[in-house]
């Protein structure tokens, strides 16, 4: 069973601690601490023949849907015989348990060692099968397949695209050791991308999910790197005089915006992913930084203190007009454009508390999503529905996530580790 093997892994890794060697990767555990008011009650029946495999697909599907905060799992025990196909589902039985939907399926082995994975999503109110699908996959693909099934169910029942198949990057600090890690969105399988004795910050996914840009202080100054996730090969793309930081990819992946101080003062530049073609975007006498491309690729939102205090502005890359976006309070920073192009998520300081908030371009309305007091570094999920960010708990850095309506809340923690600077990866290329 994979679970007991992982327990062995943890035991063996921990037993090396007295020798000063710590666990190589910090596994994130994710818990729901606040759910949507109207969660959809759904029953995920264990799949037929699931127990014969090292991984139970239905369990991952159930965990994904529950973790989203939009679903409430209904008890599936005591139904004999176990339903396996859509036509096996007796609506009255499930209605009696207050379920709105039921998922059934099977994982039957094929002669060549793979599994014939089938599932059905049944609406027990309308008494119709909403989805019926099958995949033939090798055991190494069970996890991806489970997330894909969860995405399909999520989209069918909520109308929004699911993000269960995505990955997150984040940075950990244990003592004087920093790591940039990439894990599945459910925290599973963290991979160490960079390991260093000096701070790392600002991880940013390329739009195609194949590279990460980040800032490293290993050269005793901030330098921007771009690293391939597949090969591990990296290139220092911005190492000019002074500080080089705040990388951000254009939507087509062909440019990065960066903050350089080489011409005196923090200013925004564009460059190619290999570091060539450096051009200055704007010239101001102030701090200009944290530039991010809008989804249409035609503007940058950025932080500037040109007005006296740090506020968020938008600059057109076509005409050069600069427009101020934030007007409340004396500290509004870290703009992150929403995927639908209708606004931003950002960080505001209110009475000394740092909070995550959203701004709608059309209505100019600011909605505060978190209470703080030390919430920062937000990153928006590619479906625009969730924001992951850095928070504090008892002096320790943790990650947290909140839904756009502020209701669903998650905590992501790793034992004995400061976790910071999350970056939500793009939808996988299909």
């Amino acid at each position: 069973m994979i679970r007991s093997l992982r327990r062995w892994l943890a035991v063996i890794a921990l037993s090396f601690l007295p020798f000063g060697i710590h666990v190589a990767e910090a596994q994130l555990s994710i818990e729901i601490v606040g759910g949507a008011g109207t969660a959809i009650p759904i029953a995920i029946v264990p799949f037929d023949a699931e127990g014969t495999w090292p991984l139970s697909i239905s369990q991952i599907v159930a965990a994904d849907l529950q973790r989203s905060g939009l679903f409430r799992l209904v008890d599936t025990s005591g139904i004999v015989p176990r339903p396996v196909r859509a036509q096996d589902v007796e609506a009255s039985v499930w209605r009696a348990r207050n379920a709105d939907a039921v998922v059934v399926g099977s994982m039957l082995p094929t002669p060549d060692g793979r599994a014939d994975v089938r599932f059905a999503l049944v609406d027990v109110v309308k008494q119709t099968a909403l989805v019926q699908m099958g995949f033939t996959v090798a055991p190494a693909q069970f996890r991806i397949t489970a997330h894909k099934i969860a995405d399909i169910i999520y989209e069918k029942l909520t109308g929004d695209r699911g993000v269960f198949s995505t990955r997150i990057a984040y940075i950990t600090k244990q003592g004087s050791r920093f790591q940039l890690l990439v894990a599945d969105a459910d925290g599973y399988g963290p991979q160490s991308i960079v390991s260093s004795n000096e701070p790392l910050l600002s991880p940013r996914w390329s739009p195609d999910g194949t590279r990460l840009a980040y800032v490293s202080l290993e050269n005793r100054k901030p330098v921007v790197y771009v690293q391939s996730l597949e090969t591990g090969v990296r290139r220092a793309i911005a190492n000019f005089r002074g500080s080089n930081s705040s990388p951000a990819w254009s939507p087509d992946g062909r440019k990065l915006a960066v903050t350089l101080t080489k011409d005196g003062g923090s200013q925004v530049y564009l460059m190619n992913p290999d570091g060539s073609g450096v051009t200055r975007v704007m010239a101001s006498q102030a701090i200009d930084t944290e530039a991010m491309f809008t989804p249409d690729g035609q503007s940058l939102v950025f932080t500037s203190d040109r007005g006296g205090t740090p506020q968020i502005y938008r600059a057109s890359l076509l005409g050069g007009q600069v427009e101020r976006l934030t007007f409340e309070g004396s500290y509004n920073v870290s703009p992150r454009p929403l995927p639908d192009g209708k606004g931003i998520v950002f960080v505001r300081r209110d009475g000394g508390r740092f909070q995550i908030a959203t701004l709608d371009y059309a209505t100019h309305q600011v909605q505060v999503l978190t209470a703080g007091p030390n919430d920062e570094s937000p990153s928006v999920a590619p479906n625009g529905k969730l924001v992951i960010y850095e928070s504090q708990d008892g002096g320790r850095g943790i990650l947290a996530a909140v839904s756009m309506d502020g209701r669903v809340k998650q905590r992501l923690v790793a034992p004995a580790t400061d976790v910071r600077e999350p970056a939500w990866g793009p939808f996988p290329r299909s």
């Binding site: 093997l5 062995w8 063996i12 890794a13 090396f16 060697i21 190589a24 991979q191 160490s192 991308i193 960079v194 390991s195 260093s196 004795n197 701070p199 910050l201 600002s202 800032v215 490293s216 202080l217 290993e218 005793r220 100054k221 901030p222 690293q227 996730l229 090969t231 591990g232 090969v233 990296r234 290139r235 220092a236 793309i237 190492n239 000019f240 005089r241 002074g242 500080s243 930081s245 705040s246 903050t259 101080t261 080489k262 003062g265 923090s266 290999d274 570091g275 060539s276 701090i287 930084t289 944290e290 932080t303 740090p310 920073v333 870290s334 960080v347 740092f354 920062e376 570094s377 600077e421």
Partner: protein, 179 residues
């Protein structure tokens, strides 16, 4: 058997901890290295103030605890980049040192306290480093002798979370080439 393999794998993985940054595959740095990295002191010429400026003399002045030159940190008020009057003598001393040792190079590292955005704090720290540099250049140092960089809030001197810790972290640190 699989348990034994896992033990071997973990042992191999954990032994690989080193002190330099590691990535998944061999690192190839194709840097656009436009950095003016502080040189290692450079050639010795006749001292501008008469007398020989030898390597060991350079070291002594900068590290003599009774010399103001051994003091390397300038502290700042919250949200401020102004070099306070109490640090003027220190900044002045280092500026005069640079002025009289044309081959000396320094880096001024700007820092902030832990509050707020990491990237915005990189920029704030940079502004603090630039403020000290500007003062030194006005007092006789050459622009090319000083590089300014920022660590933002990433390298605090004091890991605490109170006013005292924050005050200790809002600082410029002066580091001479070769140190």
């Amino acid at each position: 058997m699989r348990n034994l393999l896992f033990v071997a794998f973990i042992a191999a993985a954990l032994v690989g901890c080193s002190s330099t940054p590691t990535t998944e595959a061999p690192v190839e740095d194709h840097g656009t290295s436009g950095a003016t990295a502080p040189g290692a002191g450079g050639a010795q010429t006749g001292g501008a103030q008469g007398g020989n400026v030898s390597g060991s003399q350079l070291g002594d002045e900068l590290h003599n605890p009774s010399s103001i030159l051994s003091k390397r940190s300038v502290y700042f008020d919250f949200d401020s980049f102004v070099v306070k009057d109490e640090y003027r003598p220190l900044v002045e001393a280092h500026a005069r040192y640079l002025s009289s040792h044309p081959n000396a190079r320094m880096t001024i590292q700007g820092n902030t306290d832990e509050r707020g955005s990491r990237e915005y704090n990189i920029a704030l720290g940079q502004k603090r480093a630039d403020a000290a540099k500007r003062m030194m250049v006005l007092l006789g140092a050459k622009d090319g002798q000083i590089e300014t960089v920022s660590f933002g809030k990433e390298k605090p001197k004091n890991p605490g979370h109170d006013e005292a810790a924050w005050a200790e972290n809002r600082r410029d640190d002066i580091v001479y080439a070769g140190e």
